[in-house]
Symmetry: C2
Subunit: 193 residues, 2 copies
DNA sequence: AAATGCATGTAACGCGTTACATGATTTT
DNA sequence: AAAATCATGTAACGCGTTACATGCATTT
């Protein structure tokens, strides 16, 4: 809800634009789907926090351009003044790794490798975003804060990738040890049969 | 849902125990409230994934002890075989920092400092958990995986704390610069008046 | 001609949190 | 005596995702 107000302080936008902007700016640490954006804009408009102006378009539904109002800025300020609550964590990869005993080793390795690759790709995006989006607007007063947020993502991802590399090495070591163990196990099972 | 199955592979437990166990083990990267645990256990029981046995207690409602069934283990294995989906990020601190231009500098500094302290505290917990919980069960076949998950948390937190320290320094520098700037601003405003 | 993209939106559904209810036991 | 803790659970509510609907424009 408040992301919308925050982004509208930079310039008036339509719901669609807001979706694109979110993806391209705060997307790394905050996301909002169109299923929320459109209804939330309506609610904000009903409360007088944003005003809308419809611009006709050829062939497409009218473009609703929203601007933040004075009341909206007050609401944003009020929200910004609330100390951020620590989020509830939900990391499916870690949970599956935690139960790794019950997962075939190659599968686990695959999971961690995929994660590392995705994170490496996001790191490139964040670095590019910093160079292109933030540096180009470096005279905008918000730029230093954008950079700090981008650095958070970069620092976090680098830590994740390092961890992934260590973990993959360890998983492979365990897997090879397991193979030699289970070779013995196989002989036994064979013998029993 | 599946955390419950996963934890029940180590030993039969009641819903209450599961809540405590979650907090003490996977809590850093996965949480589940009692408002979910109890209904989910019922659903799992209805589906035959767990069996329950009620033990009478003095003065308290009967203790329902749940055990995972063969069918439950199959369900768990199936879930573990699904590649983990990247989570949707929601970091309120970062979002507020991103809009930091509209936030009084001391408030921002406070937010980041609080975050750093919380994370430092969690780091101690994780390190202690590794020493006490994991090392003591080091012969349990799941232990290496628990350790990997704990290391993820440690690596991530260390990166967060470092970032926080850098960011606080930068925010303070900006704040002092802003103060001298706004001193000029004050003079101007004074003059205009 | 068919498929994909643009741009707006609505509806259904599921998941999860919070608050409440209960009733004995232990603590202050 | 009052308050907090243990241990179970239920109900209401809100948030968010996914899927669907629309209809013109552009691309293949």
């Amino acid at each position: 809800m408040e992301v919308l107000l925050g982004l509208l302080t930079t310039e008036p936008m339509s719901g669609y634009d807001l979706g694109l902007t979110i993806r391209g700016s705060v997307g790394y640490f905050w996301n909002e789907s169109y299923g929320q954006i459109y209804p939330n804009l309506k609610k904000l408009a009903a409360g007088g926090f944003v005003s809308s102006k419809s611009e006709p378009q050829k062939g497409k539904p009218d473009r609703q351009v929203y601007s933040i109002t004075k009341k909206g800025r007050e609401r944003l300020a009020k929200w910004l003044a609330v100390p951020p609550q620590p989020e509830v964590p939900r990391n499916e990869l870690l949970l599956k790794l935690f139960f790794g005993e019950q997962v075939p080793a190659p599968m686990l390795i695959d999971y961690v490798e995929h994660m590392a690759e995705e994170h490496r790709a996001v790191l490139l995006l964040l670095e590019r975003a910093e160079r292109e989006e933030i540096d180009k607007n470096r005279h905008y007063p918000g730029a230093p804060y954008w950079r700090m947020a981008a650095h958070y993502g970069q620092a976090e991802i680098k830590a994740h990738v390092l961890w992934a590399e260590e973990t993959i090495a360890e998983l492979k070591k365990m897997a090879s040890k397991q193979r030699s163990d289970s070779a013995i196990g196989l002989e036994r099972r064979h013998a029993r049969k």
